[in-house]
Assembly symmetry: C2
Homo-oligomer: 330 residues x 2
């Protein structure tokens, strides 16, 4: 393994493709309880874009190496490391520094993966599938046959929701912006896919047996969130985990008072922070087999080398994408 590696770094906040640049770093020697991870793949997530813009609620000290998730393989182990071996696929739950060719980590901070894990998919394992998993676990006691309504259904989280819901016997109404996504999501297991022409709520209420859905998932905000809220059952819960539309939630008082809806938020970073290690491992015990079996699969639109960071970021910001943009290393 070479000792000088490439990373994507930013020294200021601003337009992502203008502030992110490729730099060289020297790798430190590993200590006895550390390992060297050779990165293989890392996606460009909305949170990465927000971090580069300075719009994320956590700001790393600058300069910072970007990239909030990714997967690699162990290239070297310290003398005291017994839980990981050279060649083993891993990912970390650190939320920065994944856009690099390699990094040094404490052996205990990594989550090991099976050898047959597809690494481009594994690179997208720590944020979106857990967000989907936790949102279907945490807020409402769901039973097979229950409806879940979501917007941004073609996002990484949205697709994971479709696939996990299907496994659990839940039914999904999926709202997308473009008609051409409908057959694709149906093929992945979506029960109903509709486009976001407002008003949606009457249509959704009809589709779900006159408003029986106890859970809505919102990553858009504004009118889209309001329509989902109106289509939920009495005492239903709307969980907001993203704000792609950049519009605040507008909630009529009567939805709160007379329909007794509950509005919550979800942020996977905060969940990781408060979760027990055993809870995290238990969740991945469920999720990892779904990836290795191909059940949980995120379409990839294009991969880029780290050196093409500008093109990759411009591509990732296009709204007409149908899959993820990933960096692929080495």
């Amino acid at each position: 393994m070479k000792k000088v590696i490439k990373v994507i770094c930013h020294h200021e906040y601003g337009v992502p493709e203008e502030v992110a640049r490729v730099e060289s770093r020297e790798l430190p020697a590993i200590a006895a309880d550390q390992v060297l991870v050779e990165m293989k793949a890392s996606p460009i997530n909305p949170a990465d874009i927000n971090r580069l813009e300075g719009k994320y609620p956590i700001r790393s000290p600058l300069p910072a190496i970007a990239g909030n998730e990714g997967a690699g393989i162990i290239a070297q182990t310290g003398g005291a490391v017994s839980n990981l071996r050279v060649g083993q696929p891993v990912f970390s739950l650190d939320w920065v520094g994944n856009w690099c060719e390699a990094y040094v980590a404490d052996a205990n901070s990594l989550i090991p993966l099976p050898d047959d894990m597809p690494l481009e998919q594994a690179a997208m394992l720590s944020v979106n599938p857990p967000t989907a998993w936790r949102m279907l676990e945490t807020f409402v006691d769901l039973h097979p046959g229950d409806w879940v309504i979501q917007n941004a259904a073609n996002s990484g989280v949205g697709r994971a929701v479709i696939q996990i819901a299907r496994l659990r016997g839940l039914k999904t109404v999926n709202i997308v912006r473009r008609k051409d996504l409908i057959p694709e999501l149906e093929a992945e297991g979506a029960d109903v896919v509709i486009t976001d022409e407002i008003p949606l709520s009457k249509q959704i209420r009809d589709l779900t047996g006159n408003g029986t859905a106890p859970l809505g998932l919102n990553a858009v905000g504004g009118e889209s969130a309001r329509e989902i809220a109106k289509s939920l059952s009495d005492h239903g819960t709307l969980v907001t985990y993203g704000a792609m539309g950049l519009q605040p939630l507008q909630m009529s008082n009567s939805l709160l008072i007379f329909k007794d809806l509950c509005f919550r938020g979800f942020w996977i970073n905060a969940w990781y922070k408060r979760a027990e290690v055993s809870e995290i491992r238990e969740m991945f015990d469920h999720l990892i087999p779904l990836l290795t079996s191909g059940t949980l699969k995120v379409p990839i639109e294009k991969t880029y080398p780290l050196t093409n960071v500008k093109d990759a970021l411009i591509h990732a910001c296009q709204s007409s994408r149908t899959g993820k943009i990933l960096f692929v290393m080495n």
Copy 2:
């Protein structure tokens, strides 16, 4: 007791003082398990105004006798009634028909009151103090010293919140529209009273030890609700129980996602509907002594006879009131 009585009735929805009118009704004979209640006092609540306007989520079949709460005394008992006696003060948990001189009720449907109960205060016992009581009980596990933030603090519910919070050792930040209300609410036990100049949230965060308040209560909506939400602690809950400002709640996505706030609604009618009889009686076992002792007291601005319904309704709709408008009968 006379057999023909006056009631306030409406045959259509519209401007309250135009659609509400005084009519005569013949009283039916009472059955063995019924009683005749001679009404003594009944307030004009915001819900009454909304019902007359047709803006309430429940619409009674028209024509309807208005008035959602009130208190009276037993004027006559049926032969099989043993739990109530002539002369006993009572109130009912029916939500219509209180603006009348008398009504016939099933003996089991009434809540008995002590003889020394001030009846004008008792007339305001079934909606506002229970709303305040339940909101402080239901949503957050509050401990002495915890802050509660509310707008519309001079409303019937608002004053009950101040008084019940004080009894429980909770501290309140109270938002009002007019400066002249400050000394009055302070005298009733409010810890802090401020006027609603936006932005409020920084001021409230400073007053509560940099945002430690776990509970906010909102009866206004719009900017006022948003400022309370911003001033709450992480993981705090904002409960909406009214919409005086007629503006929807605007919740920034980051308050939901990153601050993990929870937005709920509360409607006392729905609570009564799902509560056990024992829960309701237990609540009044707490509340009734607070009224007879004068601890829980709603200021009354003016009383009107039923025959002055137009003046009473116009007065009740004035925003400059400092106390309730009541009908007083007989």
